[in-house]
Amino acid sequence: MDKARTDTFAQPSIKFKIDKFIVIVVTVCIGIALVFFMLFPIGTILKMSFIKEGSLTLENYIKYFQNPRISRSLYNSFYVSIITMAITTILAFFYAYALQRTTIRGKGFFYIVAFMPLIAPSIMQALALILLFGRNGLITAHLLRISWSIYGATGIIVSEVLYCFPHAVVILYTTLSAVDTRLDEAAQSLGASSLKVFWKVTVPAAKYGLVSAAALTFNLTITDFGNPVVIGGDYNVLATEIYSQVTNLFRFDLGATISVILLVPSVCAFLINYYITKRSFALISGAARPFLQPSRKFKKWGFTIYCGLVSFAILLVFATVILGSFVKVWPYDWTLTLKHFHFPSLGGYSSIWTSFKIALAVGLLGAFFTLIAGYIVEKKRPFGVDFLYLLSVMPAAIPGLVMGLGYILAFNYPIFFFYGTSTIIVICVVVCNFTLGTLSSVANLKNIDPSVEEAAISLGADSVRTFIRVIFPLSMVAFVQNFIYFFMRAMTTISAVIFLVSATVHLAAIEIIQLDNDGWTASANAMTTCIIAIVVAMLVVLRLLAGNKGFAGFGGATSAPSG
């Protein structure tokens, strides 16, 4: 090979040598951040639950199962979660069916109403139910004059159904839009009755969506904290038990143990959902949807009434809480007043302001980092990308409450300067919701032709400039969607941050619980109303700024699998 020796090697210039490493450096940084802010806290919890005085032991678990009052929380959690799962999945399926497969009027209205629960903390449902069906409820005590009240399992189930509903609708709506309606028509043309078509064609075709919606609902319910803590009364579930062990009894070891027990079903539900979603997305084809034949009168009326009732229930929750924050003494004195907005708690309005600032930071950072993570995972695929992907989707399997507990156990040392500040709250909320942000970024990036990026590179753009000039502008829609998603999560989440608020950092969503706990129910309603108002205002502002663009996938970007 004499000839080869005469050829000289062309070496890349320093600039591009550096460029080669940028992707790797960013990948490693995000990976380390996720390990540090997710695996490390969870590892700390595991360590605390299994290790006592330096040796491995199951003592904590034995203690848990030996105490009937505490261990009952496991049974209770499963009980309410399974019933909620069944009810929500069925309700949401028919609702989605009505929106996708019938020609009822007012679909736009029903669609928006279905997603309304996403803009409020998962405590609002419980607050509303107590105002309506509580010991002093408008309907129970005053209209029907009965002594029954909704506290306990029933209350948790009803409030969770209302809270989980939009998440299940998102999945089933997408599933039904993907299943080819021509199948239905083909079956009908072969002589099958409508009911038969429904059971033999429509339902089986949507089975992945049904399982996925059920798994997600189960996960949301078993990990939710806000609703059970308000309406559960003595009915303890895993999430409330973790809180009471830690906050009231300072039993961090038991709290950690129950967290691990809660982690098991929620990881399982996540895995089922993850596996199913992967499969069902393969079924979604880009086939054009044929014309929807007009529904018959009976079907049309039936589904209109059905959607009307479900929408009424959702709207009733909102109306009750908002009204409850403006009347003097519910349900005796209906005089309108603003006095409940003079918050008697420590945080007051400053907590709303703090929440807003934190939500802005979470929105921007969350949208930015999930876009970069999605870009690396989908487009750059450096060595070790599968590990980064695993880290990015893992947060959905971890209940917010467990993550929060992990944070106080792991970071409560002076060297972690961010502990006790709003920084740690921002980090925790971003990490808790990282999964969905990444997935929606990936979905968006998949739509960008890989040649476009290669064109930029071949024209001389380095990685950073390709990202800034081409990828980012083309991802604007996903970015705005993710911003909204992260913003809403930060404004409304309770479980992820309840352990992280401190004497100096108060959050609006947490104030609701404290106000309610101290008996200031009307002010708790008022605080909820404020949060709703801020989220709605943000949605309106973004809609005005971005036109309709950012809202194209509003539903799609908001099915949060973590509590």
Binding site: A4, A10, Q11, A456, I457, L459
Partner: protein, 364 residues
């Protein structure tokens, strides 16, 4: 020294698949070379290794005497045209074309002049404010051409640039590309699976199959003297017969064709190939006396397809379908119809013969 591009022993392996198998190729400065082959033959992978988007598993990409394997795509000074146009949808035509110049930090004024020059070159000056979505496919690909040429690259690489376009626009744009290549004297490497396009546009055609170069030569060489049955089948249309050698003839069913090409070979089992336009179709009884009688057969017309100046006949010859092309004038003169019995003459010198190895399958 001319800026030649040389591929030495270039190999790319994806897992268990050898996509490109020790390819050696030299492309001279200013040459227009077409890589032609069926999908999956490795032609695009070669192009991507030249651009730097794929790293060769083995071998070298040498440009201007330097091994450029380690260079990033940004530094290679090669323009690329993609099948999907790959315009930046968030930028208008002017911004798209100026992108590469901006990346090179060209000052504002000369940049604008250069962009306008490019716009004139592809005839899209009036469209400079439009966004890609507002343009037709053909216009978009012209913008892509202007964008790739704006930084004045020394080599332009085109990856199936016309495959996404309508037949008519494809032919028109083909002429535009050819004209640009000749005017600018730029080296072009053009990947396509369309043999007609390759023959029409290139100075040199490189036919590939399963990661290997099967044959390279001028379009005329490739078409007239395909070196293998694969090339004969892939480039243009051919009729194939598989038969046993009988001295200077090949036995196929009941016929024994005289094949002069056998003189230079020793194989027993033979492929015969003949181009449709070489076969003479005649009404029975109108056969001239001076033909080689053993190469005369007969059949029945099954299908008649008008292809404009040429008429294509499918003729059943004892159960085998033979494709014959006739000049439209001849066809009219002979007044042929579907179902007619005809005589077929296979001129001996029109037969191409290939040894049949046990591995090779008869092309369908």
């Amino acid at each position: 020294m001319a800026k030649d591009l040389k591929l030495e022993n270039l190999t790319k392996i994806f897992g268990a698949l050898v996509a490109v198998d020790s390819v050696n190729l030299e492309i001279r400065e200013g040459e227009f070379v077409c890589l032609l082959g069926p999908s999956g033959c490795g032609k695009t992978t070669i192009l991507r290794m030249i651009t730097g988007f794929e790293i060769p598993t083995e071998g070298k990409v040498i440009y201007d005497g330097k091994i450029i394997n380690a260079l990033m795509p940004q530094q290679r000074d090669f323009g690329i045209i993609f099948q999907s146009y790959a315009l930046f949808p968030n930028m208008n035509v002017h911004e798209n074309i100026s992108f590469g110049l901006k990346m090179r930090k060209m000052p504002k004024k000369p940049m604008r002049e250069r962009v306008h020059e490019m716009l004139d070159l592809v005839g899209l000056y009036d469209w400079r404010e439009n966004y890609p979505a507002q343009l037709s496919g053909g216009q978009q690909q012209r913008v892509a051409l202007a964008r790739a040429l704006a930084p004045n690259p020394s080599v332009l690489l085109l990856d199936e640039p016309l495959s996404a376009l309508d037949a008519k626009i494809r032919v028109r744009l083909r002429a535009v590309i050819k004209r640009l290549q000749q005017e600018l004297g730029i080296t072009m490497i053009y990947v396509t699976h369309d043999q007609e396009e390759a023959l029409a546009i290139a100075d040199r055609v490189v036919v590939m199959e399963q990661g290997k170069i099967k044959q390279e030569g001028t379009p005329l060489e490739i078409y007239k003297f395909p070196k293998s049955s694969f090339v004969a089948d892939f480039v243009g249309t051919s009729n194939f017969f598989q038969g046993k050698r009988q001295r200077d003839k090949v036995r196929f069913k009941d016929w024994e064709f005289l094949v002069p090409a056998l003189e230079t070979m020793s194989a027993e089992n033979i492929y015969l190939a003949i181009r449709p336009e070489k076969i003479e179709v005649m009404r029975p009884g109108e056969t001239p006396e001076a033909v080689e009688r053993s190469n005369l057969t007969h059949g029945r017309i099954e299908v008649i397809t008008f292809l404009g100046a040429v008429v294509r006949l499918v003729i059943s010859m004892d159960g085998d379908e033979i494709i014959c092309d006739m000049v439209e004038k001849d066809f009219e003169l002979k007044n042929l119809n579907r179902g007619d019995s005809v005589d077929l003459y296979f001129p001996p010198e029109a037969f191409l013969a290939y040894p049949l190895s046990s591995k090779e399958e008869l092309p369908e």
